[in-house]
C-alpha cells in the first residue's frame, strides 16, 4: 500500500489541477456546440444559383393569375411540373421585354434549343410518387398551401442542396431543428410533414403505397 501512496503524492505535482481539466472540457464543449450549430449547416448545404432569375409575378399577371397556365395537368392525370422549353417558346420565341434575364434565356436556351436546368425547390426523391391530382383536384388544395406564395415573387430564392443526400433544403426546412414555418410560407416536405397533414385532414397518416413507388 505504501507504493500506492507514494505514487499519488509523487504524481500530484505532475498533474494538471481539476479546474484546468474543467476548462478544457468547457472549451471542447463550446467549440463543438458552435461548430455543430453554425459551421455544420454551412458545410452540409451547398448553395446553387438558378440558371435564370425567374419572375413569377410578371408571368402570373400575364397568364391570367392561374398557376396551371404553366404548371398544368396532362390528360393522363400526371402533373407537368416546370414548363419545357417548347412551352416557354410559345410566348418567348422573340424577346417580350428588355429584361436581362429574358435576354439571357433567349440567348442561352431558346437560341441553342437547350432545356433550362431549373432547380426544383420541392423536388421529391425518386422513391416518391406525389400525386398533384389527388391534392389539387381531389382535395381542392391551393398550390400556396405547400409551395408558399411563390406566384407573387419577383425573383427566385437561393437554392440550397444537401451535399450528402442531394435533396433540396426545402424538404427538411431551413431550420436545423425543423422549427417554425418555412420562409416561403408553404410546408416542409419530409414524409412526416405529409403524414402530419394527412392525419389531421383524413384521420390517417396514409398507407405506404399511397405516396411511394
Amino acid at each position: 500500500m505504501s507504493t500506492q501512496t507514494d505514487n499519488q503524492t509523487a504524481s500530484a505535482g505532475n498533474r494538471s489541477s481539476g479546474w484546468v481539466i474543467f476548462v478544457f472540457f468547457l472549451i471542447g464543449f463550446v467549440a463543438s456546440i458552435i461548430s455543430g450549430w453554425v459551421a455544420f449547416p454551412k458545410l452540409l448545404y451547398s448553395t446553387k444559383q438558378q440558371p435564370i432569375d425567374f419572375n413569377h409575378r410578371v408571368h402570373v399577371e400575364q397568364m391570367g393569375g392561374q398557376c396551371d397556365s404553366c404548371h398544368y395537368f396532362r390528360k393522363d392525370g400526371s402533373f407537368a411540373g416546370a414548363p419545357t422549353l417548347e412551352e416557354c417558346i410559345s410566348c418567348h420565341s422573340y424577346p417580350m421585354s428588355d429584361d436581362p434575364n429574358e435576354m439571357k434565356f433567349i440567348e442561352e436556351y431558346v437560341n441553342q434549343e437547350k432545356e433550362v436546368p431549373w432547380l426544383i425547390y420541392a423536388q421529391q426523391p425518386p422513391c416518391v410518387f406525389f400525386s398533384h391530382a389527388a391534392h389539387v383536384k381531389g382535395a381542392d388544395m391551393q398550390c400556396q398551401t405547400c409551395h408558399g406564395d411563390i406566384g407573387s415573387s419577383t425573383s427566385l430564392r437561393q437554392y440550397q442542396e444537401n451535399r450528402i443526400t442531394g435533396y433540396s433544403r426545402d424538404i427538411w426546412g431551413h431550420s436545423m431543428l425543423r422549427l417554425g414555418e418555412p420562409d416561403h410560407g408553404g410546408r416542409h416536405q419530409k414524409m412526416n410533414d405529409c403524414a402530419e397533414c394527412h392525419l389531421k385532414q383524413t384521420g390517417s397518416k396514409g398507407n405506404c403505397f399511397q405516396c411511394h413507388k
Binding site: 395537368f73 390528360k75 393522363d76 392525370g77 400526371s78 426523391p125 425518386p126 422513391c127 410518387f129 400525386s131 398533384h132 391530382a133 389527388a134 383536384k137 381531389g138 383524413t202 384521420g203 390517417s204 397518416k205 396514409g206 398507407n207 405506404c208 403505397f209 399511397q210 411511394h212 413507388k213
Partner: protein
C-alpha cells in the same frame, strides 16, 4: 402496421390465372420485368439468385410417356390477406421496420425499398418465395437505362423487392380519375402488366369484391384454388384448372386426403 382508415371504401385487388390456358410462353414475365425495371445479369441460370417479380413454374403429372401432362404456374406475389383476412400477411407481420405493409384500400402488400434495410426476415416468412433480394447493385449496360420506367423506382443493392401488382398503374389510374372528376376506377383502368401482356388471355385481374369484375366470378368458380391454402395465408392470386393432379400439386396432402375433402372441411370450419 398502419390501421385501416375507416372512411375509405376498400377493394381487394386480385388475380385469377387459368392454368388450362397458360402456355408458359413467358410474355407475362418479360412484360413484368420491362414494366418494373427488374434488372438482369449475365448469368441468370441460378434461379435462386435471379431477381424476378413473377416466375412461371413448370410442373408435370409424374406419369410415364406418353401419359405425361404438363402445366405452367405463373407465380407473382400472392398479396396474402393473412390469417383471419386482416392484413397480417406472413411477411407484413414480421418486417421490423414497416418496409412492407398491407395497403388496406387495395389489399396490396406494399414494399418500400428505401425503408427496407435488408434483414430478409420477410423472405424467410414467405412460403411462395415471392420475395427477392438485391444481392448486387443493378446494372444496365450500354444505353439500356433509357428504357427504364420512371413510374417505378430502381432498387439499390441490399433491399428486398417483390411484385406490387403494378401498383404504379393504380396510382396513375387514380390520377387520371381525379383529373377527369371520377371517384371510381373501371375494371380496365387498372390492369397489371402481366395480365395485359398474357397473349393467351389466361390472366384476369380486378377487384375480387366487385361483382362487376370478371375476377369476382372466376375466383368463385368450382375449379378455382389458391396455392398452399392450408397455411391460411389467404392469397389473392387464384388459379383455375380442370385437372385433378394440378389441384393436388397446389397444396400438401397427407396420405388418404383429397383436395375436395380438405376444402370442404376447411369451409365447414370457417363457417363455424
Amino acid at each position: 402496421m398502419t390501421q385501416q382508415p375507416q372512411h375509405t371504401k376498400t377493394k381487394r385487388y386480385g388475380m385469377v390465372i387459368d392454368l388450362d390456358k397458360c402456355t408458359g410462353c413467358g410474355a407475362c414475365m418479360v412484360a413484368c420485368y420491362a414494366e418494373n425495371n427488374v434488372p438482369f445479369k449475365q448469368d441468370e441460370t441460378d434461379k435462386l439468385l435471379s431477381l424476378n417479380w413473377l416466375r412461371v413454374m413448370k410442373i408435370d403429372n409424374g406419369k410415364q410417356f406418353p401419359e405425361t401432362e404438363i402445366c405452367y404456374i405463373p407465380m407473382p406475389c400472392m398479396q396474402c390477406d393473412g390469417e383471419h383476412m386482416q392484413g397480417h400477411s406472413p411477411c407484413v407481420s414480421v418486417c421490423p421496420a414497416v418496409a412492407t405493409d398491407y395497403d388496406y384500400p387495395t389489399g396490396i402488400v406494399s414494399q418500400i425499398y428505401t425503408r427496407c434495410f435488408g434483414c430478409r426476415y420477410c423472405m424467410a416468412a414467405c412460403p411462395y418465395h415471392a420475395r427477392k433480394f438485391n444481392w448486387w447493385d443493378p446494372k444496365w449496360p450500354a444505353d439500356m437505362k433509357n428504357y427504364l420506367n420512371p413510374d417505378v423506382s430502381a432498387r439499390m443493392r441490399g433491399v428486398v423487392e417483390k411484385c406490387s401488382f403494378c401498383f404504379h398503374r393504380y396510382q396513375k389510374a387514380r390520377d387520371k380519375a381525379y383529373v377527369e372528376g371520377r371517384k371510381e376506377l373501371g375494371e380496365q383502368d387498372y390492369q397489371t402488366a402481366c395480365a395485359q401482356a398474357c397473349p393467351a388471355g389466361a390472366i384476369t385481374f380486378g377487384d375480387l369484391k366487385n361483382p362487376d369484375h370478371q375476377v369476382y366470378r372466376l375466383s368463385r368458380d368450382k375449379n378455382a384454388f389458391r396455392l398452399l391454402e392450408r397455411l391460411n395465408t389467404n392469397p389473392k392470386v387464384y388459379y383455375t384448372s380442370t385437372k385433378d393432379w394440378v389441384h393436388r400439386s397446389a397444396d400438401n396432402y397427407l396420405e388418404g386426403e383429397s383436395p375436395e375433402q380438405v376444402r370442404k372441411a376447411r369451409k365447414a370450419a370457417a363457417t363455424h
